[in-house]
Symmetry: C2
């Protein structure tokens, strides 16, 4: 297994990527890990470790970096030697089996489309992060931002890909697949969801029908299918509401001495809730529908998150995720 | 001013409607209030008050009732003598100036469209409830469920109507109007929002541009424009997340004696937060774009909520809301 890591992507790059890659290389000796990025910045970090660099960890130089505020398409087209683009090219040229990047999300989706390339039969790849649920398990939601104007056929492919990912990589047998909608009855929704429903119904997956936004956190499904626009509204509403509630809690709890004491007594519980609501705790998000595996790490990934992304990528490769999706989509 | 109240609509009908109408009639002597519904059920409630029925409160008999689980279009078409439909007809026939109903939302929107009728120049009326914000002021969001497949022209009309409502009825001068979108930059979004943006820009309102779902609770705008599908996802995500967080709070706070004591000390604050997050605290939702004023009360309305809906309706009538919208839309 050969996994490339975009060493320059993410808020804590390159340190977190180097440290995470190092730990991963130490743990999984059967995996070749390549750090792609500025050699002058990466090498000193490796040297600082004080011991010999693991045999299965190498550096591939790339002179440019795509920043968080770069315009995605322009950046990918112009910065031909950016770490993210070089990593994508290595995937395309079969020098690697999978790539991980915690960099600019839009640029990574563009790299996926323009550099790595789509899987045959897939018109629009999808970004599939986890949304938190009350039971701590989470739901895989796709598409979350790659495809703003989805067609029913795209959503049906998302259902299939999401189900396979949840089964093969996350070990859930017969994942419950739901369609994000405004009501649970089959006839509900806008034109897109009304046309999508019968298409998903015909697929060889466990379709549980329409799911309302308010029921998602109760864990009513394992895979949630939606277009990129609605998915973005959903994810950011959850994020915004949780954030707002924490703000109010903080404000209210410092109102009086009595409430301050109460809050102090509840500190461990309040921390636990914050963690439960934090969807960034749930690992990297796959970009599904590409010719090779691409995993998007969170922008705020630390070394541990990078190592976990490698763990996730290994399972996906071992379970032949891409080949399985390809077989279902185009029969090849 | 003549206001009809659908006496049979809502979870606590007809009691709450009778009590609310009574209080409103007592407070506002210049307002004629008509309770529409089953006389055999309404009269005993009025008699039970023990004092003479106010002169400005009358009953108009209607033999049928539309239930919460009735299929909206069928119910409105078939139950010609349903309290909601009769109230709508009184509006159409100019026997009343406005109507209030806390009944089946879909049926009320259908009554608005098929019985009351649209305003000239409006293709799709919009339901405009309030969404809670951190500062307790709330944002008027439209459309929240009436129009699943909106066109850019519809959204532009929502922007205009919402701005007028917020100004005339809620007393906000130059309301800040935002467009629900996946990013704040003007070029962001799906086809619908991309085409809508320049249309709203040309309107004589205070357009603050795109607003992300996560920023809404911070009160970044006074009016939020969205299509019915995205609006439903937004509202129900907020509802679901707030509900989920209260569940986790409850669960976590009863974990140990220490946390139980903490929670007891914080009880008043926790209640305050629950109220802040409860969008049903924000009064009735107008159905904008009809030829007369229709206000949707919450299904769970109590007598006080019904009285508040009358207050809101009075302000809307006094400020000539419908005439003002009509002037802006069609120049008439």
């Amino acid at each position: 297994m050969r996994i490339v890591i975009d060493a320059m992507g993410g808020d804590h790059a390159p340190e977190c990527n180097v440290d995470g890659a190092w730990s991963a290389a130490m743990e999984w000796k059967d995996t070749q890990i390549v750090l792609v990025g500025d050699q002058a910045k990466i090498e000193p970090l490796l040297k600082a470790k004080g011991t010999a660099v693991p045999d299965n960890l190498t550096v591939h130089h790339a002179s440019e970096v795509i920043d968080g505020d770069d315009e995605p398409v322009k950046a990918v087209r112009r910065k031909k030697d950016a770490s993210m683009v070089v990593a994508g090219r290595m995937l395309k040229e079969k020098q690697a089996d999978a790539m991980i990047s915690s960099g600019n999300t839009g640029a990574l989706m563009t790299t996926g489309l323009l550099v790595v390339g789509r899987m045959e039969g897939i018109e629009r790849p999808a970004l599939a992060p986890m949304i938190p649920t009350l039971d701590g398990v989470g739901v895989l939601a796709l598409d979350l931002g790659a495809n703003m104007d989805a067609k029913p056929e795209h959503l049906a492919q998302y259902a299939l890909m999401g189900s396979l990912y949840r089964e093969k990589v996350m070990g859930i047998s017969k994942p419950r697949v739901g369609l994000l909608n405004v009501g649970t009855e089959p006839g509900k929704g806008n034109e897109l969801t009304k046309l999508t429903f019968p298409l998903i119904e015909q697929l060889p997956i466990h379709f549980v029908g329409n799911v309302e936004a308010r029921d998602i956190m109760d864990g009513t499904c394992d895979v949630l299918v939606c277009d990129g626009f609605a998915g973005n509204i959903l994810l950011k509403s959850i994020e915004g509401t949780a954030g707002a509630m924490f703000k109010i809690l903080k404000e209210q709890f410092s109102q009086s001495l009595k409430s301050k004491i109460g809050a102090a007594l509840l500190l461990p519980q309040l921390k636990g809730i914050k963690e439960k609501m934090d969807y960034s705790e749930h690992g990297g998000a796959p970009l599904l529908g590409l010719s090779s595996l691409v995993i998007k790490g969170h922008g705020s990934s630390d070394a541990n998150a990078v190592k976990n992304a490698v763990r996730q990528t290994r399972i996906a490769l071992q379970s032949h995720l891409v080949e399985n999706i390809s077989k279902e989509i185009s029969g090849k």
